[in-house]
């Protein structure tokens, strides 16, 4: 069960990363317009009062243009980042995977990556030991004990996806996770994922720009715009009728 009540997240519009730049900018601002040294548009709302409930077993797709707040929302639900205000309750083990090959460190071997990343996700060595052979077999990587710097981008994506698809969890969060994988592996992932989601207790949140992927996995669709949920409903209804023009703009289809 995931409960979000009035969740907001503010970011600084422009990061003043250096003290000297900060001092120069502040001095210039005060010289040019002394009355408006503190600008009100310094922050922007990545998420703006999101309230939603996702029940166990629901498979929710999230669609939105760039900078709609999709990744921020996923990071907050995963507990990686903290909202600025609101209330968030998550029941069950969450496993997130984000775009572009996840956390691949070139100086590790594939096997070391499996252990390090799974440990960072909160799994014990015993739990990892029980799945490591399946992960390696599924990823189709022969040289698992070679350094990751020798792997191609596709191999890295295969490794990170294989890992999360074999770790036990209650809630799966996929944020553009299929990015970078080839067609054959994508089919394999889809089959494996269908197998996982056959269990009615498994919940999934899937962020994707791909209409087919959303139609395959999701029974509910949320559309995010400027940090707000603008549509929440049945996938087919939303795609077919209500937001046909907007979704085609987002998905490019």
């Amino acid at each position: 069960m995931i409960i979000l009540e009035n969740i907001s997240k503010k970011y600084k519009q422009k990061g003043l990363k250096s003290v000297s730049r900060f001092l120069v900018v502040q001095t210039l601002r005060s010289l040019l317009s002394p009355s408006t040294t503190k600008q009100s548009n310094e922050y922007f709302n990545a998420l703006d009062g999101i309230s939603v409930q996702i029940k166990p077993g629901e498979h929710v797709g999230i669609l939105g243009k760039n900078k709609a707040g999709k990744t921020t929302l996923m990071q907050i639900i995963s507990g990686i980042s903290e909202p600025t205000s609101g209330f968030l309750k998550v029941e069950g083990k969450v496993i997130p995977i984000f775009a572009q090959g996840s956390v691949i460190t070139p100086d590790q071997t594939g096997r070391e990556y499996i252990y390090l990343h799974a440990t960072a996700l909160g799994y014990t060595k015993k739990e990892i030991d029980s799945v490591v052979d399946d992960v390696i077999a599924f990823s189709d990587i022969d040289n698992i004990d070679s350094l990751i710097r020798t792997y191609s981008t596709g191999m890295r994506t295969r490794l990170s996806l294989s890992l999360v698809l074999h770790l036990p969890a209650d809630i799966y969060i996929f944020d553009e996770a299929f990015y970078g994988s080839d067609v054959f592996f994508k089919d394999k992932v889809i089959d494996r994922f269908k197998e996982i989601l056959n269990n009615p207790a498994k919940t999934m949140i899937l962020v994707s720009h791909n209409e087919d992927i959303i139609r395959t996995f999701c029974n509910r669709l949320l559309i995010l715009e400027n940090g707000k949920i603008v549509t929440d409903g049945d996938v087919d209804t939303i795609f077919a009728q209500y937001l046909a023009s907007e979704t085609s703009e987002i998905t490019g289809s």
């Binding site: 903290e82 390090l116 440990t119």
Partner: protein, 268 residues
Amino acid sequence: MIIYPNKQSLTDYFKDILRYRQLLVQMSKKWVKSKYEDSYIGLGWMVLSPVITTIMYTFFFSIMFDMHANKVHYFLYIYSGMLPWIFFRDVFMETLDIFPKESLLIKRTNFPRLIVPLSVVFNKMLQFGFGVAILFIVALASGKDLSAYFFLFPILMLQIVMVALGFGLLFIVPCIIYRDIKHMIRFVLPLGLYTLPIFYRIKAVPEEWLSYYTLNPMVSFVQSFRSVLFKEEIPWYLLAKGMVVSFLVFAIGIAIFRTYEKRLPDFI
């Protein structure tokens, strides 16, 4: 489980860190591997680095001050001060660097962030351990006896970890937000070496300054460490003062770090 707002007690916070101890070990291994794997001497650099630095300082100061003292004893004197200084410097500076280096892991997984700087401490403790082993061998070979107060060693280690990690935790967030601070620290930190009784004796410090001078917890550490190693009288008052200051630095550091911990992915 309520994720936000979540006021986790300090006990639960440290229990959580304990639960992730395996990650701590793996991250430490990863750092050792990435740092030394491609070199011929490998882990040997952990031992050689402080030894070479100390030999250079020993020769430099012996010549500069025209010292006729036993060179081995002078080496031991400097080395016993350099080891803690190098530990402090490396933990402090690498703590400031490590979050930007681990930004992908921070932005994609949810684990207690304190594990990351703790992995630095682990590595540097290993290096410190090698250094102390060399120190013992040279000290025993040169005829020095070890103190019966050897049991104080873990307490001293706790003190230096609290100081180095505490300062690192204090500066992590400011250094990430305002990058200039780190550059400034890089210039200022080397001067810290000369504020410690490493090349000179504490007796050289004027009496009226001594109470302020010993507020530096590293002064307490260096003096106590040498006393334990070289069978000298333990400076109990100095040790206690150092422990109190170290604890305060660590407590403030951890309090600030906990406040910003969950916002680190926003900064890096």
